[in-house]
């Protein structure tokens, strides 16, 4: 029998002693829920309260803000120019300034906002744990490195360096620099392992720690990090890049203080945040009360097919806006596509900035007025132990759900801040690579094609072909000649718009493009992909527009295309569909699979084919201007048969001249046919809604509108239900399942054959 003392038995003094004892003897400074769960602004500090209460001159504040923007632009350019990681060259980076408390207050005109906003968490961690820790401390000239998303990051392929800025001995703000680095020593090269089963398979896991003292990198720690990754050159070079950019940013901030005074720096940072939050609240109040919903689904976890639900509901209740993601699939505890809550929220923030209110400043306060509801242990709010290197799959949905839900709410608004748009394609459709280059260097990273998503159709025009990544603007798909100079791959098809593969609508989505790659001059080089969307579409239509199609990947193995080029060049077509349908290359093994592929070595001349995707369509296809269909036909973006079938346009097949009368008639007939097919809504609901998902569907998440219970259907196991938030899902190893299947076949054969 034990006699535990309860809190009630303790005096205040005793409780304080115990609390201090626990603080002094803490085993591990893990991710702090108090920090990680709070996306709001910190309360004003005493200093901020004093400054803002006294009042600031708006014009002077504007000048300070301008100076800081100039400094951020300068340092952004530095990182972009100096950076070695492919991500840095293509715009996957940012520099930012934070308040002394760690709120992200400002980024430059360019850069990835989500990288900056997610850094609020590690900055706050450093502030809380290391400032007063005698073995660490935070001093002028220090900087801290970080990449672990459990402490605040998108995934651990992104690395940040954060530096405190001191003025007259006081910590007055923070500056940071972040780059998508790629290689990080994970179980697969390139930094985004799809086969990671635990977070310990994901390579470097840097909680925020000091790596710079007296403005210099500590070589012992640098060596440790270089020793932990496949590309030690990249690791060192980009740490230097980040360090020198934040040193420059710190200098610029100090010059602002010298010119305008410390109060104007700290006052401006805080005031920018508060002004932004005020403006967001004003915009929320503009929207009539109501609810808008969208259900989205992810069709794979990069190891097996699953249909994981990610719903979103936005409620406007007066001055409150609530974003509800309850009902989302439970976390996949041994799969790498989970997301930390903080990461998810900062992506939702970015979505608002990119697709709903692109005129707002790029700071953390854009989202601080939004209330968020999520289930624990879900795909969008995973536990600390869940791997998340490929969090991009749910995260990309965080960029596509808000434009849909907010678009529906904003449609009635007299003033919109940008166009209402259907979904941009939301998959990282790019080849991740790794191995030995033709120059004898070890590398691992990904191709810039991730920046070429087709955008959705809009309220007044078609989407644009392959325009940007779903998470940023002015990013770059690069030049293939320069990439091939550094890497041993050859892009047989670099960029060729994928005919017919688009979200149709009154305004169609922008298209994606085919990519066909092979390897040359390396015996150890391979590819993987980290996308899904091969069975369920990834970009939805809006107001009657079609979703984008699904995209598989294809491979032709056991060939050397360079031999084919020499001996039978006519066997090669620069087109994925023809290659796979006609299979003219002799001796090849042809494979079609879902778009997520774990890393595999590519022998010289073997072919890998994927497709960058299209945006969703906007509006009814029958409302599409026939002349726009004719233009698509002329540009060979759509096949004549498909144009006729989808858009009901009648044209001369030789010159695509539209027969307007016949088109009108065909469309009228289709409208009548629709009416004929239609049934009353109640009847539709009665026939359409099922009590549970089809038996053979590997479904995960809530079913219907009841989000309190989640359906769990792991492959190879019996379906079950769990209370929302209660636990994650463990998957068996696909190889074990395959072995079990084969064993079963053997057993059957043994029985039937009698051996």
């Amino acid at each position: 029998m034990t006699n535990n003392i309860t809190k009630a038995d303790l005096s205040k003094e005793e409780q304080a002693l115990i609390d201090q004892f626990l603080v002094d003897n803490q085993l591990f400074y893990g991710p702090d829920p108090e920090i990680m769960r709070n996306h709001g602004l910190d309360p004003r500090s005493d200093t901020e309260e004093r400054i803002l209460s006294a009042g600031l001159d708006a014009q002077k504040v504007n000048m300070v803000r301008g100076r800081l923007t100039a400094a951020l632009d300068e340092t952004h350019t530095m990182v972009e120019q100096m950076g070695v990681a492919p991500g840095a060259k293509w715009g996957d980076l940012v520099t930012a300034i934070f308040t002394a408390n760690g709120d992200m207050a400002q980024t430059g005109t360019h850069g990835i906002v989500v990288f900056a906003s997610v850094c609020q968490y590690p900055v706050k961690f450093i502030r809380k744990y290391w400032v007063n820790e005698p073995t660490v401390g935070v001093r002028d000239g220090d900087a801290f490195i970080h990449n672990d998303s459990a402490y605040g990051n998108i995934h651990n392929t992104d690395q940040s360096l954060m530096m405190p800025v001191f003025w007259q001995g006081n910590l007055v703000c923070w500056v940071s620099s972040t780059i998508h680095e790629g290689e990080n020593g994970a179980i697969e090269p390139g930094g985004m392992p799809s086969i990671a089963e635990t977070k310990y398979d994901e390579g470097l896991k840097m909680c925020p720690f000091k790596i710079v003292e007296n403005f210099q990198l500590r070589r012992d720690i640098v060596t440790f990090l270089q020793n932990s990754v496949r590309d030690p050159k990249l690791q060192l070079a980009d740490m230097k890049v980040k360090l020198h950019s934040i040193i420059r940013l710190r200098e610029r901030v100090l010059s602002v203080i010298e010119e305008f005074g410390i109060d104007y720096l700290q006052g401006t940072l805080r005031k920018s945040l508060e002004d932004t939050e005020t403006e967001v609240r004003r915009r929320i109040e503009e929207i009539p009360n109501g609810i808008s919903r969208v259900n989205t689904f992810i069709d794979g976890n990069l190891r097996e097919d699953v249909l994981a639900k990610m719903p979103m509901e936005i409620r406007i209740e007066g001055s409150r806006m609530i974003w509800n993601l309850k009902g989302t699939s439970p976390e996949f505890t041994n799969r790498s596509i989970n997301v930390v809550m903080g990461s998810m929220k900062t992506c939702l923030l970015t979505s608002l900035i990119l697709y709903v209110w692109p005129d707002l400043p790029k700071n953390q306060a854009v989202f601080s007025a939004v209330e968020v509801e999520m289930d624990e242990n879900s795909l969008v709010n995973c536990s600390n132990e869940a791997p998340n290197a490929m969090s991009l799959l749910p995260i990309f949905r965080s960029f596509s759900m808000p434009p849909m839900t907010m678009g529906k709410l904003n449609y009635c608004m007299p003033k919109r801040y940008t166009a209402i748009n259907a979904n941009t394609y939301s998959q990282p459709a790019t080849l991740v690579y790794g191995g030995l280059t033709q120059h004898g260097e070890v590398t691992g990273n990904f191709c810039a094609d991730i920046n070429g998503n087709g955008t959705g159709g809009r309220e007044d025009k078609d989407g644009e072909h392959s325009l940007s990544p779903v998470f940023g603007y002015m990013a770059d798909t690069g030049e293939m000649e320069l990439a091939e100079e550094e890497l041993p791959y050859v892009r047989l098809v670099a960029q060729k718009l994928a005919k017919d593969r688009v979200g149709f609508g009154k305004y169609r989505g922008g298209m994606g493009y085919e990519q066909i790659a092979t390897v040359k001059n390396s015996t150890e080089f391979g590819f993987m992909t980290g996308q899904c969307g091969s069975k369920h579409p990834s970009a939805y239509g809006l107001f009657g527009g079609y979703a984008c199609p699904t995209y598989p990947m294809a491979r032709i193995k056991n060939i050397n295309i360079f031999e084919t080029f020499k001996n039978n060049p006519e066997q090669f077509d620069f087109d994925m569909i023809t290659l796979m349908n006609e299979r003219k290359i002799t001796g090849g093994d042809y494979y079609v699979q879902d778009a997520g592929m774990n890393f595999e070595l590519c022998n010289e001349g073997e072919i890998y084919m994927i497709c960058q995707g299209a945006g969703g369509g906007y509006g009814d296809v029958l409302d599409r201007d026939p002349s726009m269909v004719a233009k698509d036909l002329e540009e060979e973006l759509i096949s004549p048969n498909l144009a006729q079938e989808i858009y009901k346009v009648i044209f001369n097949p030789d010159n695509f001249v539209i027969d307007e009368d016949a088109t009108q008639q065909a469309r009228d007939e289709e409208r009548m046919a629709r009416i004929k097919r239609g049934i009353p809504y109640d009847e539709f609901v009665a026939s359409w809604v099922k009590p549970e998902p089809s038996e053979d569907l590997p479904y995960m998440g809530s079913w219907g509108n009841d989000h309190s219970t989640l359906v769990v259907s792991p492959p190879g196991e019996k379906r079950y239900r769990i209370p929302a938030g209660s636990s994650g899902v463990m998957f068996s190893n696909p190889k074990d399942r395959l072995i079990a299947e084969l064993q079963a076949e053997i057993n059957t054969l043994k029985k039937t054959q009698g051996c």
């Binding site: 100076r67 692109p358 392959s466 060729k496 060049p569 620069f574």
Partner: protein, 712 residues
Amino acid sequence: MRRISVDIGGTFTDCFVAWDGHYIGAKALTTHHNLAQGFNDALDIAVQGIGIEKRSILAGIDSVRYATTLGTNALIERKGPRIGLLVTEGFNSTVPLSRGRGYGEGLPFEKQRDLPNAVRPDPLVPIQMIRGVRERLSYNGEVLLPLDENDLREKLRQLVDQGAETIVVMFTNSVVNAAHELRVRDVFLEEYPSYLLGAIPLLLSHQVAGRKGEYSRAISTIIDSFLHQVMYHGLGTLALNLRANGYEKPMLISHNSGGMAQLNSTDALQTVHSGPVAGIAAAEHLAKNGDLGNIVATDMGGTSFDIGIVVEGGEKHYDFNPVIDRWLVSIPMVHLVTLGAGGGSIASFDQLYNTIKIGPESAGSDPGPACYDRGGMLPTVTDADLLLGYLDPENYANGRIKLNAARSRFAIEETLCDDLDLDVLDICKHIKQTADTNMGNGISTELGSRGYDTSEFTLLAYGGNGPLHCCGIANSLGVNRVLAPPFSPMFSALGAGNVNQMHIHEQSTYSVLFDTTANTIMSDYHRLNGAIEDLEKRGREDLLRQGMNSNDIQFRLEFDMRYGNQRVETAVSSETTRFESVHNILNLIQRFHTRYGERFGEGSQAPESGVRINTIRVSSYVELDKVDFKHIKPVTEKRSVEPVSQRLCHFVGYDKPVMTRVYDDSATKAGSFINGPAVVTTKDTTYLVEPNWSYHASHKGAVWFFKRKGAA
């Protein structure tokens, strides 16, 4: 020296004449229907100052040099032929997709970040005019897939059938092996000899741009092709006009590389932005000739604010992938940053921060600021300048435009007063200060990102609004001295008359100077020297063809270098033009190390990642006579000048209006000294001497502004 140089801009044609020590500048309106007329008008005004009739001047002149925005305008107006584009099969959508980011090139960031409204510019080559040809070269020029000539002939036929008026060929990696592109030319001539169809121009990408980067090289070739006809006709008309007026020598064209060449040795692409670049070239000469040290050259006009950097004894600043109109191209162009800030920039209310925002929208010159009285209803920087008392409504632009202050006041009252709860004049001060600060921040970003300290620079202010805003910009920058150069309103024309005959040739290369995997230093001197020799040969041939003397030809060798696989390419000039030892290589690496450290901070260098040369560049030039600027430094004489009048002006930081003396052209005589506040209005421009600044005129019309010591 007897020379005429002309800068044909969108609104004005500026002319600068140097005639035996006389320097005369003149302005006339650009006549878009016939550029020669505007040129004649400007020249007529200029020759009046010399007192010799125009025909005699033209007969006796050494050279006539043009900088023109003709190409820029043709691009904006999409005046060009129907182009057919042949690319390597598999790269069919490279041009239409424009690296994704192409939608935002040349736009202000407010539009770049508005993804839901993003729209690519109308294409120069529509998708249906692009064909892929079966062929492929590797990164080092190895033939992977031989050129399929049957396929080529078929694709050519398709493009011709579809009405291609010119053909552009861009094959992947053609800059390292041009055989396939050259073969296209032969096949094209076989299939379509000129006697059959007339001349359909055919341009090969490797002959337009020597760098890797298939998209930017394709666009460069497309623009070259697109502009060729309009430039040919436009400049040809000018040449005929000159001939008709007695000028017998070849006409010279300013290039955006900072050099110039005869018309027959000029690619259309090289003429775009040649006007603003000529201004920077003039600034460079001014700095060198006048011993002025580092200069940041700024040109503030009606719609834009151009920034260029000239560093004493330093590297030339080039953009290798500049944006022309909305297109990213591959051409070595003198570095020039253009901000959307000018007299026509519109002021609006920033609701979020309860303050004023300037731009990016501009009223341009049509309808122009509200005070132009041409229908503009929105307040601009010029409107604020007028109400603050800086501009003379009767003598603006030499009296060509009468300003209506009531319109300015109305525009500000209607759009800003209620929201800001401020009176008109306070708002005008905010507009002026914000505009100046924005331009100052632009300069600061530009200098900072290149590793320079603004306090080590003299601000050079020219363009229509430069001398008016330069003190405000300098205040914002923390710069204490400003030079409004001689002939500041036609400074680019002056610059066009001051450049060397020059050609730049480049070659992409993958030359590892320091291989950190093998721990070796490059020793293949033969290959490197061979490439340099080839580039020199091409430059020499260009200059010899234009009648230059072989002995006068000089070369400048530069390398674009990088650490490892980083993006930045730091231009490093080489002391030696041939490499023969480890010592030469290590010396080059050290020069790179020093230059990089200056730019990004000492310690930022990363030689342990390896050191590479990506591009070899040779500038071949002949040094020509220049306008003499030796005596433009501040003079010791300080002569007081009598004001012609006085009026109340309003200044930032002053609650009450200040009685301000006003001066005329007589204040531009060397030695004239004026303490601010003051306004100097000449027939070509307005100089604003803000409080705490002084004005000191030097020789040849140069004006210095100095911040008084101790002034905040």
